[in-house]
Symmetry: C3
């Protein structure tokens, strides 16, 4: 009896301790993905290549030039190719779709609402992001609020870095997606 109690205790100890890593909320990602996306904004002359467009602007601004005061008030809609590396011409593994809003008058910040639609041999599914993006900061964290397909119910944090910025027409973001809740 005594021995079986000890055994039971031991098994429960294993159960409890093995339960912890999975159950206890971890600060180590359960999955990680590093992807790049490429935004070419429409400027009135690049219709063939543009992947995004200004669709709303504050009073007095237009839809082919980002607004004067740190672009405050511009809403940009995008459908940008996602690649595994930083080369715009690499085969895309999906599309980044949604919008960004320039939302500050005295510096460059934006608010992001978008989804990754991944469709490659490695990943099939969507990942949705929301968050404030203080563009001038080297790396900034936004929230991964949901997923479908391979990313069913996932949540996490994505660290964004501006990997390239060419004039007001092209930029490339590096997105390091760390999922902490993987299902």
């Amino acid at each position: 009896m005594r021995a079986s109690c000890v055994l039971l205790c031991f098994l429960m100890f294993l159960a409890v301790s093995s339960a912890y890593p999975g159950k206890k909320k971890q600060y180590k990602p359960c999955k990680e993905l590093v992807l790049y996306f490429h935004d070419i904004i429409y400027n009135g002359r690049n219709a063939a290549n543009a992947t995004s467009a200004i669709v709303a602007a504050p009073e007095g601004a237009n839809l082919t030039i980002l607004a004067g005061q740190f672009h405050f008030g511009n809403i940009v809609v995008f459908d940008d190719p996602i690649t595994l590396d930083n080369n715009l011409h690499s085969p895309p593994v999906g599309r980044a779709q949604g919008m960004y809003i320039y939302d500050t008058k005295n510096t460059f910040t934006s608010w992001l609402g978008f989804s990754f639609s991944l469709n490659s041999t490695e990943h099939h599914g969507t990942i949705s992001f929301i968050g404030a993006d203080p563009i001038m900061v080297k790396t900034r964290d936004i929230s991964v609020v949901g997923g479908t397909g391979d990313f069913f119910m996932h949540r996490g944090v994505a660290t964004i870095a501006t990997d390239a910025f060419e004039g007001e027409v092209y930029f490339r973001l590096k997105v390091d997606i760390k999922f902490y809740d993987c299902w």
Copy 2:
């Protein structure tokens, strides 16, 4: 002493094992709701009936006709009735409120950000959705990112299907909401 240890072990065993089902993340929904919502887009002549309106458009487009290139760049704001069946004239159980953005230049896709405000004898609360919607695909999954009231803290996945599509003025979506995290 020995007996009480065994008893304690047993109680703890119950505690641990009963903890598992609630804790382990399930792939079977803990709650499911199938609802329809109805969108009548303003076209300049249907102000009385319209439930949505184009409020942003790309350069050269206007606010009464969806833009030419697969509606790329249109933002539509909506307040659509939700019904339990596919009949526009059924008593509404709530309102679908938010926006959709047409975000692709070479096919119809949109990005959705909206909430259901349910207010009926059966349900009272809100459900919020985010996601990419590849409209031409028969069923597509978006993320249920939060809820309030009866749907306090809920998360899940919603499967959307275009249940009717009449010209560029009326469409009806069937939304099969599966909650996997119910609280």
Copy 3:
């Protein structure tokens, strides 16, 4: 042996019972924050003070006056100061950044998508919100869908109240953020 089993039992009991409060989904917040934010909408004459601007409007409306029909179809982009009390002139502890959309034709409701960027001695991080806001109701709940920094992976519900409303130019919201999932 018996004693060590009892000890082990006891330690495990502590482990299990201390594990529960953190694991079991609670209806008591694990963290709570009450903050205020202040919105001064641009009306064509207050460029120096304005913290928000109309950037999209329905057909026939303009970008300096909220649209006629309960502002239906207006999208407002904002970068509003957050304070600990209801005084606009208190030192800000961060910025509320994002957008609101007026989305109903026969009453005042909006749809909110925004983030708090907190940066004070007490809090550093972001909190992201999504939800339907039936403005005329005294208090309304929206979803807290994610967080970063001090609010890493947090989820919860925020109760919003209009704390002041002065003409169509200034309003102040009291936001009572209750986190139920704190990590």
